[in-house]
């Protein structure tokens, strides 16, 4: 299966990149742009075919390496490979 792990800074943690992107978009004349948050996405091709087990191992990878849980939160989405 394919697991898509999205890693974002936790709420309340300063996101300098998102802030700069938001200012730039407004500067380019895009109206109605509110808060902008920037994060990472990691797409994993997993040999695992069972969704539950695939999610579990993606979960473990996120905790262990993909996300820095001191400042980041993550979410996982599964797609058939």
């Amino acid at each position: 299966m394919k697991a898509v792990v999205t890693v974002m800074l936790k709420d309340g943690v300063l996101d300098p990149q998102g802030k700069a992107i938001g200012q730039a978009l407004t500067g380019l004349g895009f109206a109605g742009v509110g808060e902008v948050r920037a994060g990472k996405v990691i797409e994993l091709d997993l040999a695992e075919t069972d969704p539950a087990r695939a999610r579990a191992s993606a979960e473990a990878m996120a905790k262990r390496l993909l996300a820095n849980t001191v400042i980041e939160s993550y979410r996982i989405a599964l797609e058939p490979a």
Binding site: P16, Q17, A20, I21, A24, G27, L28, A38
Partner: protein, 233 residues
Amino acid sequence: MKPGIVLFPGINRERDMAIALERAFGRKPRMVWHTETELGDLDLLVLPGGFSYGDYLRCGAMAAQSPVMGAVRAHAARGGYVLGVCNGFQILTEAGLLPGALLRNAGLRFISADCHLLVERADTVFTAQYQRGAVFRAPMAHGDGNYFADAATLDRLEGEALVAFRYATPGGEITPEANRNGSARSIAGLLSPNLRVLGLMPHPEDLVDPLLGGTDGAPLFAALASAALASAA
């Protein structure tokens, strides 16, 4: 010709560049703020190194959208001279003034070290005071200097001989070890088809004073300055 340095928020090598230009031209370059749209009688525009907009999102992406870039484009279209170093090179590619893009260094780490550059063309206003095939030293200081373009573009660049410099060994060989950031075909510097726009990652402006370890970078600025005299005459 009159040099100007274009300043974007977060640029930080403008002082180094101003020193190198003043040494060669004997006069201070004009500083151009990113919101200016009238460049007056400037005929060399330099986009210096640094971290415009913090290198957030993509290096050079936001700077490439600033008001002054319209004027820079028009200047280039008129056949004006443009030099982009490091972040300046990244901005030129993001603005489409040079092809390709600069990706994260292959090793995923910032590299601050001297490199050696093989001169591929000595028949441009930027490189006239180097010999073709000569090798010179320059400090590099970047995290995103890994030049990328698709194969077709690379072949065209080679075919039209638009590669100005390649990473090489001190002896002038092109090796993977000498190409520390992983650039395609070891490309360190690129020219526009009319040879009037040059972008390169390393910093010749930081090697123009014997006290700082050498003057390998000086010929680039001297060449521009003497072209200036020629055009003035």
